[in-house]
Symmetry: C2
Subunit: 206 residues, 2 copies
């Protein structure tokens, strides 16, 4: 029983996602959030809890709906394809929307006040977990022979994450998709070749 909720929770979350993406966790105020969502303050609190809880819900949504290329990439057959797909996916994500470029997981809280420390740690943990998945995938690739015996899966994972993070910083600075694709290609040029892999380009032509 009781009154029905009038606003669309999904749309409100999407609006909050955009605001956090653009301004980061601490840079986004409730004035921004309520204006974007078209919903009054108490409605956001009753629906999502406080600001940190709202951000965590938004972050989960972000990973589900925008960073879904990561699990997809991890299932590709070779380590090189995994890396190439991750790079291309990150470029798409960080440059697709002109009004909120970059990556929420990076610019959410890179540095901030003590009050934002839990959120900052949450973002770090998410990145660490992603890197661990990547390392495990490359260990498998090494076992399967599509990475050479001399390859270091942990280093490759850390390197790839560094390039991804750096491209996210550049995307937030307004870099073009073309520039980022050149960066990705250069990153892949370093990629150790497995058995019978000679073509080192991002998207091999037939």
């Amino acid at each position: 029983m009781g009154r029905h909720r009038e606003f669309d929770v999904e749309k409100a979350l999407d609006a909050a996602l955009c605001v956090f993406w653009r301004k980061g966790y601490e840079g986004a105020s409730y004035a921004d959030l309520t204006e974007a969502a078209g919903v009054e303050r108490p409605a956001l609190y009753s629906a999502f809890g406080n600001k940190e809880a709202l951000f965590r819900k938004v972050l989960a949504r972000y990973y589900e709906r925008y960073v879904d290329y990561v699990p997809a990439a991890l299932q590709l057959p070779t380590a090189r394809e995994v890396a190439a797909h991750l790079l291309q996916g990150a470029i798409d994500l960080t440059t697709r929307f002109p009004d909120h470029t970059g990556c929420l997981g990076i610019q959410g809280v890179l540095a901030g006040s003590d009050e934002a420390e839990p959120v900052r740690q949450a973002l770090i943990e998410a990145r660490v977990e992603a890197e661990a998945q990547l390392r495990e995938r490359f260990e498998r690739a090494k076992a399967e022979g599509d990475l050479p015996e001399t390859a270091r899966p942990d280093t490759l994972a850390a390197f790839l994450m560094a390039v991804l993070h750096g491209m996210a910083v550049q995307a937030k600075a307004g870099f073009s998709r073309e520039t980022l694709e050149a960066v990705a290609e250069q990153a892949l040029a370093t990629w150790p070749a497995g058995k019978g892999e000679g073509d080192l380009r991002v998207r091999p032509q037939p």
Copy 2:
């Protein structure tokens, strides 16, 4: 004539530098700044102007005193040495101080409120200028033959900057110096060889 200033302006700037480095521009409050500097609020205002002016002074100091390895690197004889020195310098800078890791130029304002937009743009411009200097250096290297004719100086500059930014993000997340050195080595593994350059390691052993 008039009363002499009692606090050390240089030390106050150093203190503010540390605070901004740790918490970013908007994350640092005047309560933090005055406590770190041991100086009351009005003294900071009369000596440096408002928060943005203080940050810009701090940023200039940061480049002078901490990022001085960049102009030094640009004068090295080969493009590869330039890249290697930049990578090593960034690793040193971003991991040397355990209480303020990462890079002020990155985590100062990556994303923030509208009020921080001018500072954000200033940081972007500084990075763009650094990348332009790097590109020019690599163009010279190409002309001098220590980069091959197929090399793209703009791409190499953007790639190197991406790796540097990514390492700064990782350093702020607490990554160890050893990990970052492995990342740097992997980044250099792709480096296009000039005439008679075969050794692609970061620090060649005798």
